[in-house]
């Protein structure tokens, strides 16, 4: 008998894997460059979600309530830090994801203007037609 919490968490992780597969299909198989950009943003968001799920302390079956990675005392004592480390989620993946979101924005802007320039040169955003062009 699977516990209800494990069941729900498995649904979340499996749906993220399905999203990853769908986004990979969009990047690799769809002909339009704009659709490829949309799929690439979904792909990077899904990868970020995986990182945050890894940092989620206390996967199913918790005994203590989990908290965001914030210390509320200005001068925490040793006991405070010990309790904090047992209850809070891991802040390192969150910091990495924060950086990845901003870098992803820059990469997406670059790709958008590359696509715009390709459209101005070739008159289409369909990769099948661009690959058939000669000259």
């Amino acid at each position: 008998m699977i516990e209800l919490e494990t069941y729900f968490f498995t649904i979340l992780v499996l749906s993220m894997f399905v999203n990853l597969g769908l986004a990979l299909y969009g990047v690799l198989a769809r002909p339009s460059l704009v659709k490829k950009i949309i799929a690439l943003t979904i792909l990077s968001d899904t990868a970020n979600t995986f990182a945050i799920i890894v940092g989620y302390a206390r996967w199913p079956s918790p005994t203590l309530p989990i908290k965001p990675p914030v210390l509320t005392n200005l001068n925490p004592s040793q006991v405070d830090i010990l309790v904090f480390s047992q209850q809070a989620v891991d802040p390192l993946p969150q910091a990495l994801v924060l950086t990845a979101i901003v870098i992803g924005l820059a990469v997406t802007l670059f790709l958008v203007f590359l696509t715009l320039q390709a459209y101005r040169l070739y008159g289409t955003t369909d990769v099948r037609k661009i690959s058939k062009l000669r000259g």
Partner: protein, 91 residues
């Protein structure tokens, strides 16, 4: 039902909703509607991040993924073509 179970249940439900939104965004031939489905998927992801105890990610993710990404892709669609697989003779 404990609050923990409720939160994990909401997380599972949001995961399924995000799968539906992603599927529609990838399969849609009208790029304008694909961008809208992608924005819905980003909103669902923001709720997932909030429930996974990452509120600082939510603060960055909502303006970038719900505001900026659709805005620049809409700009791109306006400059190029709206339908996937459309012929591009009229540039």
């Amino acid at each position: 039902m404990s609050p923990e179970t409720l939160i994990l249940g909401i997380l599972g439900f949001l995961g399924l909703v995000s799968v539906i939104a992603t599927f529609l965004a990838i399969m849609e031939r009208d790029l304008l509607r694909a961008v809208l489905f992608s924005a819905i998927q980003s909103t669902v992801y923001a709720f997932i991040y909030y429930l996974l105890m990452a509120p600082d990610i939510v603060l960055v993710y909502i303006p970038v993924a719900v505001g900026l990404y659709p805005a620049i892709v809409l700009f791109l669609i306006k400059k190029t073509e709206r339908y996937e697989g459309e012929s591009g003779e009229n540039h």
